[in-house]
Symmetry: C2
């Protein structure tokens, strides 16, 4: 009776009591599983195109547990993906319980779940007990019993905190995850007797929907990111071919998503179609960042960049929406940075990093690419800095370490890395770029990765590891300057082959050395003049490496130059009608030449995440906001007009947005998160009613920005 | 036209043309997947009971390829488990082709398959091209393309030979595998108004079938390996509970297999059942070995042992059919040896070893048990010796090595192994057996495992590894005698704790040291007298360790003593009505006490593979047949009557059976495989018309036995 009353009161209680319960799993496993699902969805003209690297799987047998103290008995509802059993205080319960009552007192509940197809996951809901990240999980509980039935009391088991995301509905388990969709209509329709040519007005992504489809015959659908592609029925990259035989009208939604602006629908026989729309598919994220300025072209670039990033922010940060729809570490590492200045969607960063890393044993570089392994390391430290998610490093330090072990075993006799059999030394898509021997760019990323390892080892209190990695980083960095710095060239040279440094200079290592702060002031100026602003050094044509090139220039205070470059390069794509930014852009090409790549007429992706870098540059180097301690506990605001009359915008932090306005006369700032420092130059003595301005040198000033407070500074640029 | 004629002739051709085509996969992957299926089928009274160690998964993305030269064009049929694409000579074909034509000339075909749920597998059938173990497979092809579309021409990819078994029907893919079944009826039925009590006459295994089931109500089924268990509705180990509501009569087969001799079926409401039978489930194997002798009790023991082994020879060699139905390395290693003297079903051995090993990284001992890791190593060398399957060692040497690496990293400062956190030091089910400190038994198995590694490293031409492992083995073996041999005790002592050798003597290390030939002749005699034949040393009560105890005695020529022990111990179980041999037998217990274990009334398994050891002992030490080189290229026949008047039997080899008859006056032998050597003692000069008998010492004789030839020797024992 008492129990029933309790149950009744439980049912009558407000739903918010249950707000914390969420589906949980082994951390990283769902990310790997979902990554497999997504990366094996790529098709090209009906042909299946899976990745060429090893894909891992979730652990199929999982133990979840939680210890707790109850002041009164509690009814728990159990939802499980997989075959399972339940133990209360080590005693196994009969069958597959869906509801159990836990008595008052100290207790321990274990759920053990097997699932080969999907990730073992549980959702537990009670008045006070809910499944969440505080639960512990392991893939080997090692709980054997002796001949008397006594369980082993020792344990060699590593328990991690459970992984979770936002699956807060017990009836929608993780395996059923789908992105959101929204129906959208074409802006123009060219309808003929046996065809539709549709223009959705801008690059988009989703499921095409044929409305009121009926009759008997074939439907052939040709998708195009450009009109040329949609019309090129023999060479467009993606298609859908259907055989129809239905008497009643029915809406038909395509099975797989496609990227397109234009769609060419052709049909024959007695097939009739009332109209065509599409289900736009997207990850719901919040536009927390923002940027506006006095230049409308820059504002347009920002908007198109944001849209480009959003289209590529999906189950994971992907490279491009037409192809590959795989997760590439180099591409993703840029998306993370752009994301910190726009959506600040941390789960998307963590998901992507976990899917990329996969599991041990390591049998190749991430995506098979040496540089992409290093971006993975470097991104983790960025992630910690921006989000303060220490648990991520604590949980995955072993995976960081084993990946670094892989790199360390591949060093040559000089302690440097060169491409061994099976290693792709990528760097950039650039014709004739040498990958031979010990490339300086790879050593530089290697050194930075070792520094990241040292920092992360410190975070997890592995002091011995920390000092070893620091020492290794120092050695590699030392060799970088010993072997590659050429004082006649005023630059790091590209590579060493057979122990001899080549005289060839490329931009890659030099621009990274700037914003990694590996160069002294003199070297920075040398690199600026002799590499970055030197047209004799081979130009960069991908937005991918333009990201870093412009970041280096910004770090050197060359924002006005960068503004011009941005307008030329991204503005150049806009002038060609781009509604999202491209995988590659060469202003020298003409017309449909722009669409070709990989030896294919429409091989190029016209919506590539790495094309969205202005998001990052404008937030970090114009609004000038960046963390100087994890989770923005401390941060800097160093606005730079970059030749614009005024700029304003928002930069998200884990706790609210930092707001910045800047003109030549006035700076306005609202603080968020921890403690900010506004830093600026002024010709005259600046004034503010809201706080104290400190002079920090000739014409240099600083002001402390507190959380939630707004400040206005009068100054003179 | 030509093509159609070709196709027609292909279809008209005899099926035998296609005989070689078989489903293929990544070696070891199907075994792991099937192991997961089987080991997660265990239930106890409706509760799911999965293993407590890590289970691995198949690689979900697989590339299969084959290069070949065709004298004329050939049509290939493709069957695939998973989403796939096909490349011919590196060029990808459209869609999901089911039939392709390969032109004459030199060609390469690749199939790339993704499957998360099941093992990626392919079946390719043409006139000359068939999928088989000659195909190559990899989980990472690393075939990237550059910006011009050119594929990488270097490769860091390891290609292995495809795995296969006997899936020769394209329409029955590996994921659909089921063991065979055969309907069987109870020998007695006690039918009451609302119940059936059935006796199937002997221990059996399969799906219970309720015939002509109808009505509304509950059916409760209680299974028993003993009648007591079937009647103990509250404590029997396995049950099925059904709710019935059906108006028409229907046969109903239970979903999961059970082990039983007796079944107690109870029902209520309006439920009616016409009768009950069962579908006996089994792996079809051939009884290639055989044994008969002058003692009918021994013959009965042999028959019951063979049945016990067969019941436990399933998807894999399992421990027992009631529980755990998991794969245990220690149990399986005995089944392998018994199998070599009965079914000689090599695929079952390979499957079991692969499922046990799983994949890297190694995170615990096999089954969490230190000794079970070592049995795995030792079994591999046995497997090679009996079957000559060198490819197994070539393919899986890396997995041997990484498992040994795991062991090597767990050595203590003395270079020895003791149970660390998470290690189960099992040895045997024996009350009060100490597992503390450095147990001699574990060091002995460790030394033998290192010797196996040295041998296998040699087989795969890793000469450096081979010498390192040989050196390590020597060191561990040296310490074994230095630390544990106690000349006052005339034995190896049980353990060392805190650097001090204990004075306690157990049988384990001593009996293994005998048949590993680690002892000199004097030590062997000491161990025989002071350990093996000494009642003061704690007795062994499990058939598991009796296996090795009796093997040691046989190796010392004590067959007459072993005959007596066999009759006492196994004969003892038969006298208690056993129809299969038990997990444990203690003659001191009475009645239903025999059925209890693990603190549960019917916890003991009455059909345990390790109970079948007479199969091995009688084949190897009575018929006396054993290989002295891989695959019986050379072998020994050394018959031993063991106090019996006559023995006769067959021992399987990869090529036919060796047949042996022996009495005190006559030996008859038929050779198989390579070259045998018959070795025997005789008081008088032996004679044979079929071959030349060599004298090899005082009363010792040898004779060469050729393949397929029969020999008869007159002698005098």
């Amino acid at each position: 009776m008492k129990k029933n009353l309790f149950l009744l009161s439980l049912l009558l209680m407000n739903v918010s009591v249950f707000a914390q319960a969420t589906w949980i799993w082994y951390p990283g496993d769902y990310e790997i599983w979902l990554g497999n699902q997504m990366q094996n969805r790529r098709t090209e003209r009906t042909t299946f195109m899976p990745p060429f690297w090893k894909l891992d799987s979730h652990y199929n047998l999982m133990d979840f547990h939680k210890e707790f103290i109850l002041s009164q008995p509690e009814e728990l509802e159990l939802f499980v993906e997989g075959r399972y059993n339940v133990k209360l205080d080590g005693k196994i319960l009969m069958g597959y319980p869906k509801r159990i009552t836990v008595p008052a007192g100290k207790h321990k509940i274990n759920l053990k779940v097997f699932n080969q197809d999907h990730v073992p996951a549980v959702f537990v809901r009670g008045k006070t007990i809910q499944s969440d990240a505080s639960w512990r999980v392991t893939f080997e509980d090692k709980e054997w019993i002796d001949e008397t039935g006594k369980a082993s009391d020792q344990s060699g088991t590593t328990w991690l905190q459970a992984g979770s995301w936002n699956f807060n509905d017990p009836l929608v388990p993780p395996s059923q995850f789908k992105l959101n969709t929204k129906e959208e209509n074409p802006v123009t329709v060219d309808k003929q007797a046996k065809s539709f040519l549709l223009d959705f007005g801008k690059e988009t992504f989703g499921f095409l929907k044929l409305k009121g489809l009926t009759g008997k015959g074939n439907v052939r659908i040709y998708y195009g990111e450009s009109k040329e592609e949609a019309l090129a029925t023999e060479t467009c990259e993606t298609t859908d071919f259907l055989e129809i035989n239905q008497s009643a009208k029915r809406d038909s939604v395509m099975e797989l998503t496609k990227a397109f602006r234009y769609v060419n629908v052709q049909f024959d026989g007695s097939v009739a179609i009332d109209g065509v729309s599409m289900l736009y598919e997207f990850l719901p994220v919040t536009e927390r960042g923002g940027f506006r300025c006095s230049d409308e072209e820059i504002n347009k670039i920002y908007d198109v960049a944001l849209y480009t990033l959003h289209l590529n922010t999906r189950e994971f940060f992907i490279d491009g929406i037409k192809r590959d729809r795989w997760i590439w570490s180099g591409d993703a590492s840029q998306s993370y940075l752009m994301n910190y200045y726009s959506f600040f969607d941390s789960p998307s960063v963590a998901r992507t990093m976990l899917a990329l890393r996969g599991k041990d044993p390591v049998t190749s570089h991430i995506n098979t690419i040496m540089d992409y392994t290093f971006y993975w390391f470097i991104s983790i430290y960025d992630y910690y800095q921006f989000t303060g998610d220490k648990a991520f490093i604590q949980q995955f330090y072993p995976r960081m370490k084993s990946l670094m072990d892989y790199c360390l075993t591949r060093r040559n006799k000089n302690g440097l890395l060169e491409g061994l059999s099976g290693d792709w030394v990528f760097i950039d898509w650039a014709e004739g770029l040498s990958k031979k021997g010990e490339v300086s760019f790879e050593q530089l990323l290697f050194a930075r990765s070792l520094e990241t390892m040292a920092l992360c080892a410190g975070i997890v209190n592995h002091t011995e590891d920390a000092s070893q990695y620091a020492q290794l980083a120092k050695e590699v960095k030392g060799k970088l300057f010993q072997y590659y710095w050429n004082s006649e060239k005023h630059a790091l040279v590209h590579s060493r082959v057979d122990g001899v440094s080549t005289p060839h200079v490329t931009r890659y290592a030099n621009m990274f050395a700037v914003f990694f702060d590996y160069l002294n002031s003199a070297q920075k100026q040398e690199v600026k003049q002799h590499v970055l602003l030197n047209n004799q050094v081979p130009k960069i044509t991908t937005p991918y490496m333009r990201f870093y090139e412009l970041e280096a220039l910004c770090a050197l205070g060359e924002q006005p130059y960068v503004t011009k470059e941005m307008k030329d390069y991204w503005g150049g794509m806009l002038k060609l009608g781009a509604t999202s930014f491209w995988e590659e852009y060469n202003p020298d090409k003409k017309g449909a030449e722009h669409y070709a790549m990989y030896g294919r007429e429409f091989g190029k992706s016209l919506c590539h995440a790495w094309g969205a870098s202005p998001l990052y540059l404008l937030g970090k180097y114009y609004l000038g906001v960046k963390p100087t301690a994890p989770a923005y506990q401390t941060y800097l605001i160093e606005p730079n007009l970059g030749g614009l009359q005024w700029i304003e915008g928002k930069v998200p932090t884990p706790q609210g947005e930092v707001e910045v306005y800047c003109s030549a006369k006035e700076i306005k700032v609202t603080g968020a998160a921890g403690t900010g420092t506004l830093r600026f130059k002024s010709k005259k003595k600046p004034t503010s009613k809201q706080g104290e301005i400190r002079s920090t040198g000739a014409g240099l000033y600083e002001m402390t920005i507190e959380k939630g407070k707004s400040y206005r500074v009068s100054y003179s640029l």
